[in-house]
Amino acid sequence: MSTLRTQKDASTTPPVSLTSRRGWWHRTRDGAFRGAVTGSVLVGLAVLVALIVQSLVEGWPKLNWNLITSFPSSFPEKAGIQSAIFGTFWMVGIVLVVAIPIGVGAAIYMEQFADTEAWYNRFIDVIIQNLAAVPSIVYGILGLAFLARGFLNLGPVVLTAGLTLSFLVLPVVIIASREALRAVPSSILDGALALGATRWQGVSRQVLPAAIPGIATGSILAVSRAIGEAAPLLLLGALQFITFNPTGLNSSFTALPIQIFNWVSRPNVGFHVAAAAAIIVLLCITLLMNAVAIWLRNRFQQTW
């Protein structure tokens, strides 16, 4: 600006100004908009904080070791979540064995082998995206009609719930794995093929290992989602009074979110405290998994 001001004496034209020529209205509007976009993010963050604080405050009196070692009880002060935690672990095990390998396999096919022009592959593509957006309770209906009752008639057991949750997270695993595979440049596969590798050798030994961090991130998030799901389990008839840990695939069970729902829906406020304490445990598990997933993504992300 100083150089501009020196022109003053030399010329009669008014000095050039680089400050805004626009009125207060424009500046206010720009400022208000900046405030609005920032505020919208802050609202989300504030709710997150409120939600965690609320659970901590409500559940604090019951947050002790007994909560984890005890079984459900008719008395809120004695009630615990041991059987729920074990039930959840069993279901995670089934999801790991069923949904992850099938999901990764489907992703490998879609990204590396499928002829993307073929109508059936385009159809599968749309189907997978749609499955990812089907309400979770509809998966409960699927499990109810074919697994719990009807076709297989297994009843409300660990296997039914584990399979239903596996179906639920399968599209999530597929979509995340596809993105991870797509991020590996095609020159890696070209390089392997040029060395006389078959397509499967190139994919399984070069492309897939390079995509593992991304696949792991997506899989952890999918498992975390399975841990938190309650709606489909309700339909399968999982809301029961279970005071033992599951003994096998054919065993009755309860799970953390189901136990929480059970306690929340009771009129006795003492159970709300138990629910809040169980929520803290559930949040610890899911948030920890989210954190690991994000760390994994940042730590092993390959820049090509």
Binding site: E117, S187, I188, D190, G191, A192, L195, G196, Q206
Partner: protein, 322 residues
């Protein structure tokens, strides 16, 4: 790693004469340090002498034919990319394919190890004979073809693994049963990379410089004991010093392998190759007015650069046509 942006405008590369000194070739504008410059010039001269001698010998020898292309054309989804290519490529020679962008030289190269198969909608017409076997015959297995005909790509593409694993990958998938350590060392030596990496073969290949990565890719290619090495603009992403090392390497490898190189750098073709094929783009050859690549001239390199028979070749090599 110095990335040189690929100039689409061929006219940007100033070319007045085929015979040039080393300074003229570092056209990227990357000035090597003074010491390196002297070394560059010195070794360039030496290399020139050996190449000249080799060319003299080759000219008369009636070398064995490795590839015989008969009226080859490639279509992508029905429209022609390149048409009417007939040429025979001799054993233990370096053959350069040059020409402007979009002239189909890379497409032709990719026909030779059936890499075009990997592109959806690509179809190869005509005949590609490899030691008198039709590469596109019904029973030919592309995987077997690629084991004999290796390829080095435009941009170095090492696997995100250790140096050792990069070299060992090809032999492993090929069922190599011998001493892998020995094979890795031999391949790295032949690619003139051994001395630089021998201390830590477990180091990640991604940590190497661009030039080292490209030599690693060559080592990786040699490790499967191919018969032919195809190179698709192997130096276009490299600095002049690395480029020179690759060129020297090619010169040594040609005694054992047949090398076919696609290059956009005419000096490079003139420096390293024994024979040169010049491709260009013909406009509107089919009803849809597509641009189609054609082979204009194929001859001994000195002939193509000093005494071309086709005016289009002359225009290109003297820089009058981009």
């Amino acid at each position: 790693m110095i990335e040189r942006p690929m100039s689409e405008n061929r006219g940007a590369v100033v070319m007045d004469e085929p015979e040039r000194t080393r300074e003229g070739s570092s056209d990227a504008g990357v000035a090597p340090e003074a010491g390196a410059d002297a070394v560059l010039q010195e070794s360039a001269k030496l290399a020139e002498v050996t190449r000249e001698r080799r060319r003299q010998v080759k000219k008369d020898a009636d070398a064995e034919t490795v590839f015989e292309l008969k009226d080859v054309a490639v279509t992508y989804g029905g429209s022609y990319a390149v048409q009417g290519v007939s040429m025979s490529i001799r054993k233990n020679e370096i053959t350069a394919l040059i020409g402007p962008s979009g002239c189909g030289k890379t497409t032709v190269l990719r026909c030779l190890n059936r890499t075009n198969d990997l592109i959806q909608g690509a179809k190869v017409h005509g005949q590609v004979l490899y030691h008198d076997i039709d590469l596109y015959g019904p029973k030919v297995e592309p995987v077997e073809v690629r084991r004999r005909i290796g390829m080095v790509f435009q941009k170095p593409n090492p696997f995100p693994k250790s140096i050792y694993d990069n070299v060992a990958f090809g032999p492993r998938v090929g069922g190599f049963k011998g001493n892998m350590d020995e094979l890795v060392e031999r391949s790295l030596r032949r690619a003139a990379l051994w001395d630089e990496v021998k201390r830590d073969l477990k180091a990640s290949a991604m940590a190497l410089s661009g030039g080292q990565q490209q030599r690693l890719c060559i080592a990786r290619c040699i490790a499967v004991e191919p018969d032919v090495i195809l190179m698709d603009e192997p130096c276009s992403a490299l600095d002049p010093v690395s480029t020179l090392r690759i060129e020297e390497l090619m010169d040594e490898l040609v005694s054992e392998y047949t090398i076919i190189i696609v290059t956009h750098n005419m000096q490079q073709a003139a420096r390293v190759s024994d024979r040169t094929g010049f491709f260009t783009v013909a406009e509107g050859q089919d009803e849809k007015d597509h641009r189609i690549g054609i082979l204009v001239e194929y001859d001994l390199t000195p002939t193509v650069f000093t005494n071309p028979s086709d005016p289009r070749t002359e225009a290109y090599v003297t820089g009058r046509f981009g």
